[in-house]
Assembly symmetry: C2
Homo-oligomer: 199 residues x 2
Amino acid sequence: MQLQLSEIRIAGFGGQGVILSAIVLGKAASIYEGAFATMTQNFGPEARGGACSAQLLISGDPILYPYVTQPDIMVVMSQEAYSRFVPELKEGGTLIVEQDLVRVTDLPRQTKVYSCPATRLAEELGKRMVLNSVMVGFFTAVTKLLGADAVRRAVADSVPSNFRELNLKAFEKGYEYGVKSLAENPSSQELEHVSHVED
Amino acid sequence: MQLQLSEIRIAGFGGQGVILSAIVLGKAASIYEGAFATMTQNFGPEARGGACSAQLLISGDPILYPYVTQPDIMVVMSQEAYSRFVPELKEGGTLIVEQDLVRVTDLPRQTKVYSCPATRLAEELGKRMVLNSVMVGFFTAVTKLLGADAVRRAVADSVPSNFRELNLKAFEKGYEYGVKSLAENPSSQELEHVSHVED
């Protein structure tokens, strides 16, 4: 499989595992899919407010210019991140949100929206901190950008060994939720809580 | 203090805390010094070999182009990273190495070299894994790029709370070693184990 260049932004607040999610997806692409990935993190004024975001480029070819300009895919885990970054999403792009933390509004109709209650699913496993692995699993299922096994292996070798099993469970939970969402609602633009901007 | 643009590369192997070191320095610059920082990590073929490197830009002004081209400062924690990256170091640049893991050879005379037995110092604290905080402390002392207190605070809020105290001790150990190295040998190009290339 030759991966085409994909620009991804992951954003939320500190402690949600934004950077770790980007590292996991970057490793999955490069180490286990034989592709290339570059992760960029800005520490600017927004870092002082507790916001956190990472940019990830994934490509079948070496990446010469590593800066994300207009993301194809955005993973958003806080309302602040939503307001700040979603206007940059590419037309027809994919938006993945943490369902209970983000209210989706004013979105161009052609955006594909996928929504996952990752915090709740993580809490069912007893550890809210694995919400990022739930989101990574969900991302893997709905985008189909990377093989599930590649991402699973990247999760396994990116977390401390005593949390490996828990994070793999979290991955599966998110992945299954994503597979189910896709089956129930293949073009998930029609989520009830989404108010679309008139084109 | 207005920070001038500094390009930094940190490189070693997986598990040494390369990325965490870059995050700590980036946070210190942005959150505690009011400057800007951008961290970029490439996952390419080298990631498959266990090599790990991060690029960090620190600047008093917002950073428009985040890619490190020719680092001013390089922190190197493995021989492989040394061979691979040191040829890119800027003329007159600063090289910081893990003393027991890197043999420094074939270096232009004008390079400033600082050498720290970070693994050994970390082992004295009972945990080899804090070698990155030792290196960060050493970096802070010898480069004087960032205030020690800013970096200390960034260390404190970048590590899990149960390892905070240990990492702060590691930071102090590296910092003190750096202050002593500077005092004993202000221009540390003359390290015995360094063989310089004839200019």
